[in-house]
Subunit: 195 residues, 2 copies
Amino acid sequence: MSRVNFGAKPNLFPMPVLIIGTYDENGVPNAMNAAWGMISDFKEISISLSEHKTTENLRARQAFTVSMATEDYVEACDYVGIVSANKVPNKFEKAGFHATKSDFVDAPLIDELPMALECKVKSFEDGILVGEIVNVCADEKVLTDGKIDPAKLKPITFDPVNNVYTGIGKVVGSAFGSGKQLKIGQGNDLFMEEP
Amino acid sequence: MSRVNFGAKPNLFPMPVLIIGTYDENGVPNAMNAAWGMISDFKEISISLSEHKTTENLRARQAFTVSMATEDYVEACDYVGIVSANKVPNKFEKAGFHATKSDFVDAPLIDELPMALECKVKSFEDGILVGEIVNVCADEKVLTDGKIDPAKLKPITFDPVNNVYTGIGKVVGSAFGSGKQLKIGQGNDLFMEEP
């Protein structure tokens, strides 16, 4: 191991590519691209946002959707990250996106992106948007046995070092499973999940 | 598009697998696995954490590292997520990890995991740990042309729907680039990046 130091950088692998959908005060849909987001509780998402048309919309409508950017729409998803709706008012349409109003919140779902979280604004302070996740929805074409299948969804990741998007690879392990073999010999009390 | 509703779920693609490294008050290293984390500013990381041995350590030492879990150590990285150091005090060692003290903060780097963020605790309130990123380091073996190369690092992602880990796939687009073709015909003022 010979470590190289890079200084203080906003680098993490993998980072998501989240497409935030909102309506403005006149009902015009908008979308923007954000990589600084996470699940912050079982029914909560947090996203770090600077000021955009989207943040005006969030304050006006108190709701948003978060769609997963996908390989199939990488150009459109990148486009909404490099163009502002303050300069291109029909940005959403220019991206080739079509909006359908969420059944749960006052925000648009994006027909082209098969999986989304539908959220109400809980708070938006100091640049951190916190949303209550009201519903998760996905097109049936990205499901396998009734569950969202990332191999069909094809979400993309943002690589902040090389400024590229990558796909998701194959399954390499079982969460809450792969590590069990290392527990052998540590006492039966650890095998909580197994008889 | 025929959308299926799943209710309120903590689902996002991709989610990271962050291995948080800390020392306890006696200098014993610990590691835990967290998927609820994001970059929250250019020199800041935020992680949503419930109470663990790690949170005691964070309060005692005011520092931590965040290593990217990798395909090569998926068992060890999963193990530190399913066993508590409160039950297995030498959990770090049992995982097969070896610690080297960070040059920048009072926390251990994990020799087996090639890329890490070295962080000072900025705040830890309401279950949200906010860290100042002091340095990013990576083993030279995961670099290409001096930059961190995810194809060599092989970070994993957590799939919260199917409880599996997946690798990172191939490059599918250029960030701040793939979307430019959609800007054609929208006026020269938009081509900020190009002469």
